[in-house]
Amino acid sequence: MSSPRAAPKKAGPGLTSSVRSLAGLMGAERSARDAMREAYRRDRNVRLALDLCTGCGACLAWCPAYVSTGDQLNSPLGRISAARSLLRGIISPDDAYRASWLCLTCGACSSACPFGLDVPGVSRAIRAALLESGSAPEFVSNRVVEQAAASGGSGFGAEPLRALVRGIAAEIFEEKGLAVDPKVDERAEALLLVPSDDLVLNVDTLKGYMAVLGRLGVDFAFSHRALAENYGLFLHPAIMRRLADGVASAAEELGVKYVIVGECGHAWRVATGYLSSRLKESGIGIMHIFHIVSAALRRNELELHADANGDLVYEYRDPCQYSRGGGLVEEPREILRRAVRNYIEPSLSGTRTVCCGAGGGNLAPELLPLTLEHARLWYDAALRDGADAVVWPRATCKAHVSRALRALNPGSGRNVGPHGAGLPRAWTMRWTPPSSQGWPGMTLINRRTAG
């Protein structure tokens, strides 16, 4: 078991100041207590959680962080207690920091809670309050600054992006004989929003998006100012909105009708919780790449070659941000069942899924020992289920699962493999042109507006 005092490394004053400025907190620092009081007044889920939690502990057995550490502060009840203590000004900043930043924000506690209380929302509110008083973790702050730079146009440049996608298009042509002509910063019908990991690390996933969209005849474009990830979700709602608004502006500039979100859990969560409402104002719809692929499969516009994925036993593991709060459960299964010969359901799936272990900003390198402890929970479950490969189609999960499998496989004598992309390697033989009416049968996610 890792040290019970583990905590993400704090950002230095310069970095914290940059992040505070991104959140629009230019003035004097406000006490975390005052900021939390405002969250309690303004945020309905926070208010409900702090008003209604009876401390029954039904959540504890489901919280991966508590189950793997036994640390009461690092549990849903610890976080509720920390928030209530913060409101009364009787908690040390370090305890509030640990209670909130060690939360995986996976929402397992909420699914188990008899009242459905949003404990991850409470963790996020404490984090935002701590930022207002000048405290934030280094890893998440760095990601936020990078994402803000990309959103401002000074991240992944237009030319490198163009060169990258042209290179990928050439590979697709070589492998499949399919000509794909991806656009960058040009007007198109759809904006493809991918996490930066897919541009750098998970290039096969990027290839999957481009090949399928190209095959379906979708007129899509990338924007060098619009990346999927949004660490503002973990840090401060104002930053989350700022980054999401940047995506919306890019979509409006390109004149798209749809935004297609790639394999990124918190991007999808922001898409369903905020961005969809924002885009709706401009008449732009939003959907996940899985919606497109599953609809194409249903209409026989794509056919997958399961044989290409061998005889391995594949298990789909629901990313928390897809299944809890994101409503994305059936589509990835529909794709995977057709993409592999041997598919099994995990023993805990859908809203009962177990976090990869590094959600909510816990991917920081200094937290690796702790997050490996968390990972052991799903790893052991996958072994019990008899899986050879776990499919976890979300950027953060892919990053953590790969390193977790490297660490855990030697101890078990097994060689469980990571497979990030729900989009299979082998696809298409039968092909029907898409309807001129658009993409019938696809699910447009248009979040209802504020109550």
């Binding site: 007044r41 208010r47 409900l48 209604l52 009876t54 401390g55 057995a61 189950v67 207690s81 919780g273």
Partner: protein, 242 residues
């Protein structure tokens, strides 16, 4: 008029007023707090929470089966209280007025005493679980983990109040049977018709039971027992900030 009688006349109305005031303030604070979505629109709340089925599953306490003490305690306490509440409503509204007092008191003894006893056992189980945390097997991995509760000092007086209320109710049923029933029904009707008759509560213990009930009703929206109001509120897991 004796002080107790005066109290008996005013307490039910004061309790109801406090219940209404607290509930309105509570609901207002929840509605005023913003979210991108939420229960301010009940049909959306139902959809967000998983529909009627979500509520039904909550009422069945299906999600607590991994924790046997919690599941058993919650079911025994809450189901019994619901049955008891229906019985008390009947006292005031006279749904079963067609039956004779003897028949009603027989039913009260047959249902009321077991229901009250089950509620007491359920409450005791929940309090015991809070005070003596135990271990259970986590459903996500099969490991044994320690279950603890953050029991604030405010919970215990409310639990004691509830226990005293149930205990006096059982005692009334057991000791006075049809007499208690007739007097309680008469008192409830007089209160509802705004002509409170303190003499109706002249039976020993009935006045204590009524005053305890008033204290409980008045305190509902102000303390931990307000969790019953959560049925009006479905937190939306899709919400990502204020």
């Amino acid at each position: 008029m004796p002080a107790l009688a005066l109290l008996m006349l005013g307490a039910p109305y004061a309790a109801l007023a406090l219940l209404m005031l607290g509930s309105i303030l509570q609901a207002t604070s929840w509605i005023r707090a913003r979210g991108f979505t939420g229960y301010a629109n009940p049909p959306l709340a139902l959809a967000a929470g998983g529909g009627i089925r979500w509520f039904a599953e909550r009422l069945a306490f299906n999600g607590l089966d991994h924790d046997r003490r919690l599941a058993a305690g919650a079911r025994m306490l809450h189901w019994s209280l619901l049955l008891t509440m229906a019985f008390h409503l009947d006292l005031a509204l006279g749904w079963s007025a067609a039956m004779s007092v003897e028949q009603r008191s027989l039913i009260a003894a047959a249902l009321g005493i077991p229901a009250g006893s089950m509620a007491l056992v359920g409450l005791a189980l929940l309090v015991w679980r809070r005070l003596r945390p135990g271990e259970l097997v986590s459903p996500i991995c099969g490991r044994r983990i320690v279950i603890f509760s953050h029991t604030s000092l405010t919970v215990i007086p409310f639990d004691a109040l509830l226990a005293a209320l149930i205990a006096t109710g059982i005692a009334l049923d057991a000791l006075y049977g049809s007499r208690a029933l007739a007097l309680a029904s008469s008192l409830a009707t007089s209160i509802l018709s705004l002509r409170p008759d303190a003499a109706a509560a002249s039976l020993p213990l009935l006045d204590v039971h009524v005053l305890l009930a008033c204290a409980l009703v008045a305190s509902l929206p102000w303390g931990p027992l307000r969790h019953f109001e959560s049925y009006l509120a479905v937190p939306d897991m899709g919400q990502v900030g204020p």
